[in-house]
Symmetry: C2
Subunit: 273 residues, 2 copies
């Protein structure tokens, strides 16, 4: 199934815009798991089992696994093996290089791990993105306007009267021959999100920054969705996976996920009926 | 020793601006090595042993190791263990993320592997770069103007009358409190390299694009160096490591490296006496 259709299908089936960010920091998981042979993987498995009916996606920031060294492969493969096939998996690596090197990056994220989608940094241009969008059933979320403070350094610079990130959106639309490109727009920029949605009415938008980064949930739903109330992929990480730092972490993660999903759905109903 | 001093020291000692790009593609190494328990690592070891008196740096594009999966750690650690301490090692990962995630990326490249320097994508701004420049003895090369075709998509966009990449250079200068920031400027853009060198007279510039990408070697030396004829780190990958695809690959790599180093030094002598 094509990427876009797969996303819409799971968003409808689970009635959810929620993506859970499995940015699992080995230093933050309950002590009892630290002696497990794969602490991050076991933590993820329990979060997934407790929440998989509530989400449209799981996003794994690759950096959190790279920093654990060699066991990264086992942990990521193990984690992905617990996620049901219909759910979107996002390999959040912020990759991008000259074409021949990007192919190797894509071989890892799209080929080896088989993530449904990757995140890609646009700075190096079209050939850096292409290997990630070579197959229609896998997509790429291109960084447009990120959730962090540093987004102010370059992304807002004005080019021909429009901020740089809008030029990124325009190029993303142009490169989207296989209809498998999405955008990353931080929930910390609600006004800009609305403008980006109007420029790109049919692109999935991955929206990080809810929770610890204090992004705007109502605006993320209102401006992040297409006109059917879909295609916003609203990521929540720390506020869900560390809802409890104790042994009840999975149960508390479910409660937090349910609350986020339902709050999103209240806003969906308000704006999309 | 601080990063900048370390770079100058090895450039003087080996009389070399040459960086060898160990972008070792498992499909391109001699058949006899493919049965080795670590084919890429063994290939790299033999290239390093044949060339280490001729270089100032080795650059490992992380993508070429990620695409080999789990053995990446062994291969990179093994490769780095063969490189003498005075030589600069560059972890070419084009990383960058929100600050808390960039810290995990840096923990891998600067902490686990202990590369002397990393390459970083500037699109996400200051907090995405900071973890890579936290220690004065390790540096970061920030992508300014890349060697690929895609560099035309965004890097040349004009902001207040100047191309975007010059704004990146200006920010890099501003962020350089520890004097450990460098820039990446492709050898395929010789005119722009001169302008960037004049803006940043004291920053190391990593210059990819010589050889397979047909960048301009004379201009890379002339415009890439500081006024002492140092601080250009001119990377050559495929033209050296695949100089022969046979069993004599290491010997032929040495011949190619010697030729590149000496050609660079002819231009150094011409322009810097």
């Amino acid at each position: 199934m094509d990427f876009l259709e797969k996303l819409k299908t799971v968003q409808r089936r689970n009635n959810s815009l929620l993506s859970i960010g499995l940015d699992t920091d080995i230093r933050k998981i309950p002590p009892s798991l630290r002696t497990h042979k794969d602490p991050q993987g076991e933590f993820n498995r329990r979060i997934i089992e407790a929440t998989e009916d509530l989400v449209c996606a799981y996003k794994l920031n690759i950096a959190f696994y790279e920093s654990s060294g060699e066991r990264m492969w086992r942990t990521i493969h193990g984690t992905l093996s617990h996620i049901a096939p219909g759910i979107i998996t996002i390999g959040d690596g912020k990759r991008g290089d000259i074409g021949s090197s990007s192919e190797h990056q894509a071989r890892s994220l799209c080929g080896d791990f088989r993530f449904t989608a990757s995140t890609v940094n646009p700075y190096m241009g079209k050939d850096s993105v292409e290997p990630f969008i070579a197959r229609a059933e896998q997509g790429a979320f291109i960084l447009a306007l990120t959730s962090n403070k540093g987004s102010e350094d370059f992304q807002y610079l004005r080019v021909s009267g429009r901020p740089l990130y809008e030029h990124v959106v325009a190029k993303a639309l142009k490169w989207n021959a296989k209809k498998n490109i999405g955008l990353v727009v931080g929930a910390t920029h609600p006004g800009e999100l609305g403008r980006i949605r109007s420029m790109a009415p049919e692109l999935p938008i991955l929206i990080p920054g809810i929770g610890a980064q204090q992004g705007d949930l109502e605006a993320s739903v209102r401006y992040g969705c297409d006109n059917e109330g879909l295609l916003a992929v609203i990521n929540v990480g720390r506020s869900i996976i560390y809802a409890s730092r104790g042994e009840d972490f999975a149960e508390k993660a479910r409660e937090a996920a349910l609350e986020f999903r339902d709050r999103m759905n209240v806003f969906r109903k308000k704006y999309f009926g």
